[in-house]
Structures are given as structure tokens and as C-alpha cells.
């Protein structure tokens, strides 16, 4: 009887752990991963493999030899960064460029801040944006490699993303695009931008498993829809329509998987809404008026930097106050 455990309440604990949450995010990413591999074939597998392996390996090496602390690769967060980074790159990206992206994501954006929980910016996005600036040619090469399943891209779209085409040629250039193609996987773009359905499946899974709350994602999508809706209503010849803006580019991937990153998003629901509206606005400003065709990554990074401020002002509603 003297070996009774005595410790303060509560005496039970949820089964949900950091590891199980992160693993759920990886599971939620699987549909998008499968679609991208089917579509882009071996070269996409290579990008994914290099990205995930280097992220995990780098985190292992850094925690073990540089920080000499507990090894944290068991929490699956490095795997998420690896998958997200890969899904943000064209399938034609050379392996060594992918590796540099992983070094920036894990080595710079994550570990120098102190690892999971401490980083200000989403590691995968930092990696991607770094590559976009340093290797613009590789990062905008959307030629389609041979996939595992046969599919017929509409003529004329093979070499570019719909957003890129719209930027170059205006609304008229994307007139023939079929939204059903965007929903499934018939449009050009980086791997993770292929299939809205696959990404939305992941979103549903995350919500059902209560991994994330819907506020950030929904407020981003709503803002994009409203903003583009207003401009499109005023001048449909100049501005792309809301559905086009929702389904193309990295919007779904970014709003579902990257803006909702626990560490780099606000804690409270209202904070999440402000954060989401900000991302939506900045994204649309870049798409309509900026130099780049796509602005989700920049928008998330910019809003990441104001999260501490949002957290300072947005608190949960307290009982009896």
C-alpha cells in the first residue's frame, strides 16, 4: 500500500498529444499528396522524399548536435513542414533546391527560434518564399512532367498556373477554364495547388478530429470571396471572379494547412478572424495589384509577424467579466 501514487488533480488526461495532433495533420495532407504524385509522377515523389527526409534529418541533427537537447523529431512536426514545403514547389524543382528550402525552413525558420512552439513564422512558407526569391526560374517552371495517370490538360495551360495566365493575359485569357477541372486535378500549379477536393477533404478531417478550429480558414476564404466579388461586380473584364480566386493558386493549401499552424497563428477565435481577414486582404491585393501572380505565402508571412500583437489585444471572453 505504500507505493500509492499521490499527485494533484486532475488524475486523467486526454489521449490527444502533440504527436497525435501532428500525425493527424499529416493524414489530412495525404489526399493532396496522393493526387500530386498521381499527377506529377516520379519527379513529385522525389521532391516529397527529399523534402521530408531533409526536414526530419536536419531537425534530428540540430537538436542532437547543435542544441544538445531532447530530440523532437518524434512529434511529427518536421514531417508536416517537409510535406508542406514539397507541396508548395513545382514538381520539376531540382533536389538540391528542395534541400536548400528544407535548410531554411527547419534550420532558420524553426530551430533558431527555439524549435516547435517558439517560431514566429511558418517554417514551410519561409522555405518556399526564400526559394521563390533566390531561384525564381526553378520556382515558376510549371512544365508538366509525366504523371502516373493520363490526363488531358486543356491546350495552352500546360506551362503556367491559372493565376499566372490571368496576370499576364487578363481575364480573357482564363475564360475557357473549367471550374470542375480546378475542383479535381486538371490545372497547372505546384503540387499542393492541384486539387481543391483533396484539400477540402483534408480540411474536413482536421475539423472532425478537432485538430483545428474553422475560424481562420473560413475568414480567409470569406475575405477573398467578398473582396474579389466586389471588384468583379464593378468590372468583370478587369478582375477575375470569386470562384476563380477561391479555387486557384495556393489559397486552399495556405488557408487550410499553413495559416492554421498553431504556433504561428493567434490563440483566440476572434484573433483568428482578424488574422484570416488580414491574410485574405493581402492575398487579393497582391493578386490584383502586385507584381507576383500569387500572394498567399507573403500574406501569411506578413500576418504571422503581427500575431503577437493580435494575441495581446484579443483575449477569450472571461466568465463573469
Amino acid at each position: 500500500m505504500d507505493k500509492l501514487l499521490v499527485s494533484p488533480s486532475p488524475h486523467l488526461h486526454t489521449k490527444t498529444s502533440t504527436k497525435s495532433l501532428m500525425r493527424d495533420v499529416v493524414i489530412a495532407l495525404l489526399p493532396a499528396v496522393v493526387v500530386s504524385v498521381l499527377f506529377y509522377g516520379w519527379s513529385e515523389l522525389l521532391v516529397l522524399g527529399v523534402s521530408v527526409a531533409s526536414c526530419v534529418l536536419l531537425e534530428y541533427l540540430i537538436t542532437k548536435y547543435l542544441l544538445k537537447g531532447a530530440c523532437t523529431i518524434g512529434d511529427w512536426s518536421a514531417v508536416i513542414t517537409g510535406v508542406l514545403l514539397a507541396l508548395n514547389l513545382p514538381a520539376t524543382t531540382p533536389w538540391w533546391v528542395v534541400f536548400i528550402g528544407a535548410v531554411v525552413a527547419i534550420g532558420v525558420a524553426k530551430m533558431t527560434f527555439g524549435g516547435l512552439g517558439q517560431n514566429l513564422f511558418n517554417p514551410a512558407i519561409v522555405g518556399r518564399v526564400f526559394l521563390l526569391i533566390s531561384f525564381p526560374t526553378y520556382m515558376t517552371d510549371w512544365t508538366k512532367p509525366q504523371g502516373f495517370i493520363c490526363n488531358a490538360l486543356a491546350d495552352g495551360y500546360t506551362g503556367a498556373t491559372p493565376l499566372g495566365i490571368a496576370k499576364e493575359g487578363g481575364v480573357a485569357a482564363v475564360e475557357g477554364l473549367d471550374y470542375m477541372d480546378m475542383l479535381f486535378f486538371n490545372i497547372g500549379g505546384s503540387a499542393g495547388e492541384l486539387s481543391a477536393i483533396a484539400l477540402l477533404l483534408g480540411f474536413a478531417y482536421l475539423l472532425i478530429r478537432r485538430v483545428i478550429r474553422p475560424y481562420i480558414t473560413l475568414s480567409i476564404l470569406a475575405t477573398v470571396a467578398v473582396f474579389s466579388g466586389i471588384f468583379w461586380a464593378i468590372n468583370p473584364a478587369e478582375y477575375t471572379d470569386p470562384l476563380f480566386n477561391l479555387l486557384t493558386g495556393g489559397l486552399l493549401l495556405g488557408s487550410i494547412f499553413m495559416a492554421t499552424d498553431y504556433v504561428t497563428s493567434p490563440m483566440s477565435n476572434w484573433g483568428g478572424v482578424i488574422f484570416g481577414v488580414g491574410i485574405g486582404l493581402i492575398t487579393m491585393l497582391i493578386r490584383y495589384f502586385g507584381a507576383y501572380p500569387e500572394g498567399v505565402s507573403f500574406a501569411i508571412l506578413i500576418m504571422n509577424s503581427v500575431v503577437p500583437l493580435i494575441n495581446k489585444w484579443c483575449h477569450t471572453k472571461k466568465y463573469g467579466r
Binding site: P8, S9, P10, H11
Partner: protein, 453 residues
Amino acid sequence: MMKTFSIGGIHPSDSKISKDCKIEVLPVPSKVFISVAQHLGAPATPIVKAGDQVKVGQVIAEPAGFISAYVHSSVSGTVKSVGPRKDLAGNNMTHIEIDVEGDEWIEGVDLTDTLVTAIPEDNKAILDKIKMCGVVGLGGATFPAHVKLCPPPGKKADCLILNGAECEPYLTSDYRIMLERSKEIVVGAAIMKQVLGGCPAVIGIEENKPEAIKAMTAAVAELQSTAKGYEGISVMTLKKKYPQGGEKQLIDAVMGRQVKSMGLPIDVGAVVQNVATSLAVYEAVQKNIPLITNVMTITGDCLPMEKQHNYKFRIGMPLSYIAEVAGGVPAEAAKIISGGPMMGKAIANMDATTVKGSSSLLYLTAEQTVRGVESACIRCGKCAEACPMGLEPFLLQKYARNSMMDELEENAIQDCIECGCCLYSCPANIPLLDIIRLAKGDVIKIIRGRGQR
């Protein structure tokens, strides 16, 4: 729409394994040790000494202050000693040791099963009886019942809430009395609401106890049609969510009102009493029986069905004795809890004895209860989402680790009800409540100190 409290809350598994075990009466052991600290407030002062003969129900310790309570002997026999003995946390407290001889009760108690439905008219006499019978709140806090039933001048009760939520996993004692003593509980409610000036009384029960809802609703209906003084009593079905039975949460759920920080329920017109307290009030007022018994649950996933029990115990029975009668402590038990798994206390000493508020012996296995290794906060916000007081535990723990007292107070650490939702929910195994509990004590001391100056 079923009602519940508006902020936070969690849904741990129900685990009401012993819910179908009828209440059994525990045989009286040969010796009891009755603690003088069975209530919130000052420990009572013993008025017996070694060698005295006592009867069942006789006062053996008197209140030592306004917030204190009478303690009665639960057995008849000879006082063997009055002195320190370890309680379940292992701290020394004065206990009165009595050698049991026979089972002779004091004069005037009504031990029959006859239901007494006529409510005495004199409220003062009722309150006196509740006080003299040592009735305390049995929902966890063991606050002297008569004090709560006398609102301070200028305050009025708008609603008496009977807490039948039993939101802690595993516990089934309230459930059993709601099934087996439904009418007595309703009579107790009618008595308390009369004392409070005739406000309505609402019996709040969670949806996962349909049988109890049925039994209590039937009891209310029957008493309303056969006796006087039972109007305005109703049963309210609440959604299942922990901590529904928290006083502040229950008031929010039932009345839609929130008690201000550092305020009392009566400030918003609420008086909350547990269903077990209502039963004790019935026994005290209608039967003259002092509070010397209560019902406790013996349970745990590692106990076979035949060793699960709901026992009517007398105060002063050693826990080890009860465990023995129930079939022994299971080998897999790593931790034994007195109370629920969320807010109960881990028992350090099985030689400790039952008190008025004892509610369980809950056996948890190592696998169930040993916490995982703490890792870094991933800022998931799950602790804040779970907190029924709307606090931000991740922030409080950070401030607490750095002793930032002003920030802690600004962020309302003093409002923490120690429900454990935050620690339960944290995927990074951060001991949030452990840290918050300590710092909260310090902050409340600072606030009190300021009030005195």
C-alpha cells in the same frame, strides 16, 4: 435546446461503471475514528473525552466559529481517545476514536422509511435543525449548509439550484440517491426553497442520466399533487459537459447569469445545493437524523463488476476497512482517488477515515493516470478553449513561472476554479493546473492583503 454553461468545458469519457449497483449499507466496524475537520472552515472543538459513553447521533464536537459545523458520533460505544491521526493526505488532524458497542441511537430520531412530506412552518426552527444536525454541502466543498441558506441582508434568492449533474466521470452516488431516494430529495428541496423565501427550485441533471431525470420528475409530480409547499420545483435536463456541476457553471446553465469575479452566487440570486445535501436536509429536518452517513462509490476500470459498489457509509470508517469489505484493492491500482478523477484527491493514506463529504474510492491504473512527459507548448489554444472560466492557462503558466503577479491578476488567475480542464486538454502535457494552483494562492493572498489595508 438543452441548456449548458456557455464557456469552455470538456467531454471526458463518462465511465459510470457502477451506475446500476444498488446502494448497500456497510456494516459498522469495531472501531471508528471521527475527524473534527469534515467541513469548510474552522475544525470543530471536541466535547467528549476518553472514557465517555456515546450514542449514535450524539454531538461529539461543536462548531468553532461562524463557518464551522457540528460533528456527531456515527456509532454507539466508548470514546477511546481524542488526538491527532493522519487524514487521507497524510496530515495530522484531531480524530475522536470510538470503540463500537451495539447500535444505540439518541432519543427522538425517526429511523423508519416513512416519507414525511409536511414541511414545518417555522423557518428559524428549520435552520436551527440543519445547523444542529451538522449538515454541510456534499457536492465537494462541504460548506456549512445553514450559512448558505441565510442570504446576507439585502440579498435575495431568485432560484434554488439542486445540483444533480454529477459531471465527474465514474462517480455514481448522486445518481443512485436520485433513483432510490427521489422523494426525500424533493422534500429537502421544498424545505430549502421555503427557507429561502419561496423562490423556484430547479433540479439540474445531465442528459446522460435519463433514469434519474425520470425518477426525479415523477417524484416532483407526485409530491406536487399530494402535498402542500411543492409548487415551483422542476427538473431541468442539461447537456453533458464537464464541469457542469461547478457552482458557477451550473448557475450559468440554469439561470443564464454569471457570478462576478470574487463574488458569491447569492449576488446573482442563486443558491446551489447538491442533491445529497438536499437528502441530508430532509433527514435532519423531517427525521431528526444528524449527518453521519452518506453514499460513496467504489469503482475503477480495473475492478470486476461484482466488486463495484455504491455504499451507504458512516463517518469515521477507515478507508482500508471499506476497501476490504468491497473485495480488496485491485493489484493494478496505481492511484486511489477520493472524489472524482478531475477534482478528487489522491489518497496517500488508506488508514484515513470517511468524512461527511467522502464520495468514492476510485482505483486508477498507472496507464490511466501517469502523465506523459512535458514537452514544449505548441500554442494550440486547447487549454483556453477548455477553460470554463474563459482564462488562458498557457499565458497564466508562463506568467506564473516568472512570478509576474500583476499580470497574473490582470488575467484573472484568481477566478480559476481548479476544474482541471486545462491540464486534461494539454497535448504537450504541461502541468498547467499544478502551476496555476500555486500562483493563484499567492495572488489571492495579495488581493486579500490589499482589502484589509
